[in-house]
């Protein structure tokens, strides 16, 4: 492999942007281990993306910080200061004794040693208990967080299965009909109940005085389904289509003057149902 060509291909950008499938991703990670110059290219790309994200920083609403702080498992009140255990052993200062009662000395030392040992034993036990207690608190916090995540997931699954059972939604991608202009929009259509949702994922903002209009092609003729708000262009936002539609061969979006036209003037994207 030629590292220069590899870099030029754009695969590293795709890797950092998360646009690779897991197999390709592993392949890139292998190359990164082999060629250090790829690693520094990746760091450069990552730096650009961090800066790009910083442009769109949004301060979260007040109150969110407190809510999050309370949900963090095992938060310690003030662990940063490193409070150390105080030394609990008793200072041992042997007094000068008469040699005739040396045995007393020995006895005193023995008693002191015993006392120290007992002290140490109790202190150690207390320490272990404290450790166990703090571990339990942490574990409990973690369990609570896990439980909340699971409950949230369960809710998500419940609502999604309800949705799936209810509706048979068909996804129709409308592709560009203008060569050289990559554009696309998506329509989600439930034929059975006539409901449809539209998103103008990749359509440019319309020029001043113009607006997009949605059409359904029925028996070869375009039928208007209404105009679309300009602020939806080039965003993933989906909106419910105001009109019911239970039949159609294709859908299209065209550019029209504000308010729309009875028949399409300039079709931008088209997708077969």
């Amino acid at each position: 492999m030629n590292p220069k060509e590899y870099i030029e291909s754009g695969i590293l950008e795709a890797y950092v942007l998360g646009a690779l499938q897991s197999e390709e991703q592993r392949e890139v990670e292998m190359q990164l281990d082999l060629y250090p110059e790829l690693r520094s290219e990746v760091a450069g790309i990552e730096k650009a993306i961090v800066s790009y994200c910083q442009l769109y920083a949004v301060t979260p609403p007040a109150g969110v910080e407190q809510r999050i702080a309370q949900s963090l498992p095992g938060m310690r009140a003030n662990a940063g200061n490193g409070v150390t255990e105080t030394n609990r052993s008793i200072p041992f200062q042997p007094e000068h004794r008469k040699p005739t009662i040396a045995w007393r000395n020995a006895a005193a030392v023995a008693v002191l040693i015993c006392s120290l040992a007992v002290n140490y034993y109790f202190w150690k036990q207390g320490d272990t208990e404290r450790k166990i207690a703090s571990e339990l608190t942490q574990q409990m916090g973690r369990l609570q967080a896990d439980q909340k995540l699971l409950a949230d997931q369960l809710n998500d699954y419940k609502s999604s299965t309800a949705m799936m059972a209810d509706t048979a939604i068909q996804t129709i991608v409308m592709h560009t009909v203008k060569p050289g202009h990559p554009m696309a929009a998506t329509l989600y259509w439930s034929k059975s109940n006539g409901e449809a949702y539209v998103a103008m994922d990749a359509l440019p903002k319309p020029p001043e005085g113009m607006q997009y209009q949605l059409w359904v092609i029925q028996n070869g003729k375009p039928v208007s389904m209404g105009v679309l708000p300009n602020n939806m262009a080039n965003t993933p936002v989906m909106e419910k289509v105001q009109m019911q539609v239970t039949s159609g061969d294709a859908f299209a979006i065209s550019l029209e003057r504000v308010g729309g036209n009875p028949s399409p003037t300039e079709v931008y994207v088209l997708g077969k149902a």
């Binding site: 754009g10 993306i49 969110v64 949900s71 998500d156 949702y197």
Partner: protein
């Protein structure tokens, strides 16, 4: 201590201690950027706040798995935010919420964005990024903020795979030039 800043290495150590102080600093320094990333992916405000909470819990509990050799902690955290948002977006519930979002919500979201996004010294940079060709911006945003793979982008936009990759590279190159100046 107000106004104190830590290096990335110090931040990692601080986080591993799981102190309140570590959280306060993390939130103050990175909360807005992480929330910004989430809001680019998820339009519903309440859901975005829930995801922000998940992201902080993930950073908090997984800091031990962060490997400084693989990249900066900043990138690591932003990726957590991006991935959590995209997972949420992919769960059917959120897609349906997105579908029934009404026009006025979109407008209020736009207004919210204008009000709270940090305006100060990023305005000049934003203008420069706005000169990023739309075909580059669309591809970068589809990949990073909507989780599209190369293949999906190629199909959605009707472009050959090679073109998608070279445009991705050109777009990022342009960003790198803007930010390095």
């Amino acid at each position: 201590m107000p106004g104190q800043t830590y290096s990335e290495e110090e931040l990692v150590l601080l986080l591993k201690q799981q102190s309140r102080e570590a959280f306060n600093y993390l939130y103050k320094q990175y909360g807005a950027v992480l929330f910004g990333v989430i809001c680019k992916v998820i339009y519903d405000e309440a859901t975005a706040e829930d995801v922000l909470q998940e992201v902080f819990v993930k950073i908090w509990t997984n800091i031990g798995q962060y490997d400084a050799k693989k990249g900066r902690i900043y990138t690591w955290m932003i990726n957590i935010a991006r991935n959590a948002s995209i997972d949420k977006l992919r769960s059917k519930g959120e897609i349906m919420k997105g579908k029934i979002q009404k026009g006025e919500d979109v407008v209020s979201n736009l207004e919210r964005g204008l009000k709270t996004e940090q305006v100060t010294d990023t305005i000049g940079l934003r203008k420069m990024v706005a000169t990023l060709k739309p075909e580059y911006e669309t591809i970068i945003n589809l990949a990073y903020f909507k989780g599209y793979t190369l293949d999906e982008i190629s199909k959605t936009l009707g472009l050959p795979l090679g073109t998608v990759k070279t445009r991705m590279r050109s777009g990022i190159q342009q960003l790198r030039e803007v930010f390095n100046n």
